[in-house]
Symmetry: C2
Subunit: 348 residues, 2 copies
DNA sequence: GCTCCGCATGTTTACGTAAACATCTGGTTC
DNA sequence: GAACCAGATGTTTACGTAAACATGCGGAGC
């Protein structure tokens, strides 16, 4: 373990990290040759290449990505700004984004915003501008972008998920209205006279869209539009809504704006002796993996989060490659209805 | 829109990005002064500062983080390697990591591995070495690190979650054994003669630990140890296990290795007319948000994912700051038992 | 045998930032 | 009033990489 002077190889603390120059010295070549080997360029004779590779191994050389990024002007990284990973939708979208990005040779940097105050959002956007990121995907449950009060820094490539800002940014989203229409129509087709509704939080763009579509379908069909019950995505709020709905004898069908609230509904109905689907039919939204194992298995609207993630990355890469500014426009991913056992024709 | 020669400000495509030199030129100062302003250093007279700030605004200057990282030798970024975000535990841990890291001025880079083959894992680790990352947190459900077949590159600061590699790496984890003990003891304390068990996948370190602890508690208490039923974390596998268990008249208590499998159990029992908790008590593990809204609300072991995330970041930052190698050791986060309505004393 | 060509390798330079050092100004002290 | 000092600003340099250009060597063609 004794180390004697000279240019001694690591072990000691001569240097924090091995650079090309170190490898070059050990291999007895120039650092440019090391660069060529490192990048797999042609034009290096095999004996030299072997020597360099051996030196790399011995020193444990790994390229410095900061220097590379500085050189190339690109980081091969996409930033993802979001409020929360705890919702199923967000985490699955992020996962799909990460997977797709990895396939394209890009990494993902997460920029979480714990409390969505305007200051925090602005702060995150500012920091983001300084981050090692070639483009940004914004997953915004809350429509701050839409109002124009929050602006993304110019010159940053941006794709927005779940927002109304299609006129100014490139937007990718599940086709919320389409999904809600499928849910409501399914219930009407079964013969229900109308469909009650548990909303998502008012701040949610997706929730608003679903509620709008619910109302539109009922109006189109000439059905009465019952007052919506307000939820906040949580099972708990669904449970509360269920306790109210259980008291209404003419409520035979409910469309919950997500599966978790539907779960709350199911529990409230179960506790109060309201049978699903015999007395009341329930439809959710999202198709979370557990939905098939609720009691009873939940009929719900399937969202293709993976596809949303893929299109986000594609949009971001298109912008990076085209080097153009953001090309506004909205890219909607279709949904499908998964019919399970929580829906049936009304009695009588 | 006509642009005439000279150093014309953006709009055209003279330059991809604004640098300090551009700002310096416009403000009529040296780039070093711009640097001082940018970093909030003292020793810049306020009139000069104003001039520089104005120039920054006009040009939309944003510091180049690659250059900064190259200069400082740090990226202010922590990498997170994981297999999947879809499990509640992982996504909540990641969220906690991201939040804590943000509070410390660090960003998070996700490195997903879709299929956990050894090649892919090795590839990810190799790529990681080249990534713009100061430390890495590995969230490994599968114990590849433990076997020694997969090695992390030396010289990288690493914190491992959910693994047995405490002798070689710095490990942070929920105290799985402690949680499982609480669950089983709770059931025994209620008067059950023994406790059946639905395991997680064999590849999961956490699952193994829970199963070991389950067996140990039964043996300590002198209870018979029924054969465990094998699950894979999914509601579906829990459902299958439930169908078997429902046929066993002497099964009065079940400990499922996670909440989703417990959900499957509940559904199977419900369908087959086995009442919970009157006929059979069920305990889960994780305390996912929905657990309180299962039918009946699930007694389960609460994991403090947020604390795990915090300790991971702390461990990573300690290593970065100390510049020492990985300091092996295991940091266990305690659990707590949340008693709800799925458990009760046995009948008779 | 000399020139020319092509290939392997070396040298120079720029990417954007910021520490370290250098300079310049105006005011203060004896 | 000369020397000095402090504070504001400018200049040089290095971080690690890789493109662009330069060199040098051996073989083919005449």
């Amino acid at each position: 373990m004794v180390e004697r002077g000279g240019s001694g190889v690591p072990g000691g603390r001569r240097k924090q990290r091995v650079s090309m120059a170190d490898v070059a010295k050990l291999a007895g070549v120039s650092s440019q040759t090391v660069s060529r080997v490192s990048n797999g360029h042609a034009g290096v004779i095999s004996s030299t290449r072997e020597q360099v590779l051996a030196a790399m191994r011995e020193l444990g050389y790994r390229p410095n990505s900061a220097a590379r990024a500085l050189r190339y002007g690109r980081f091969n990284t996409i930033g993802v700004i979001l409020f929360s990973l705890s919702s199923t939708g967000n985490s699955r979208t992020v996962e799909a984004i990460a997977t797709q990005a990895a396939a394209e040779g890009y990494a993902i940097t997460l920029i979480p915003i714990d409390v969505p105050t305007q200051d925090n959002v602005l702060g995150a956007f500012t920091r983001m501008g300084e981050l090692a990121v070639d483009a940004v995907i914004v997953i915004m449950e809350i429509h701050l972008l839409d109002t124009g009060t929050v602006q993304l820094p110019p010159g940053v490539h941006v794709v927005v998920v779940d927002s109304d800002a299609g006129d100014r940014y490139s937007v990718v989203d599940t086709d919320q209205a389409d999904g809600a229409r499928r849910a409501v129509r399914h219930l009407l087709d079964l013969g229900h006279r109308t469909v009650w509704h548990v909303t998502g939080p008012e701040t949610s763009f997706a929730g608003q869209r679903r509620t709008q579509a619910w109302r539109a379908v009922l109006e189109e069909a000439g059905c009465p539009v019952p007052p919506p019950l307000h939820g906040d995505w949580s099972s708990e709020s669904g449970y509360a809504a269920g306790q109210e709905l259980a008291r209404l004898p003419d409520c035979t069908a409910v469309f919950a704006s997500n599966d978790q609230m539907a779960l709350g509904l199911l529990r409230a109905f179960h506790e109060l002796g309201v049978r699903v689907p015999e007395d009341v039919s329930v439809v959710g939204f999202d198709d979370i993996p557990d939905a098939a194992f609720f009691v009873p298995p939940l009929t719900t609207v399937h969202q293709d989060f993976a596809e949303v993630g893929r299109r986000c990355v594609k949009g971001a890469l298109d912008q990076i490659r085209a080097r153009g500014g953001a090309r506004p426009g909205t890219d909607l991913v279709p949904t499908s209805l998964v019919v399970r056992r929580s829906t049936a024709p009304p009695r009588g």
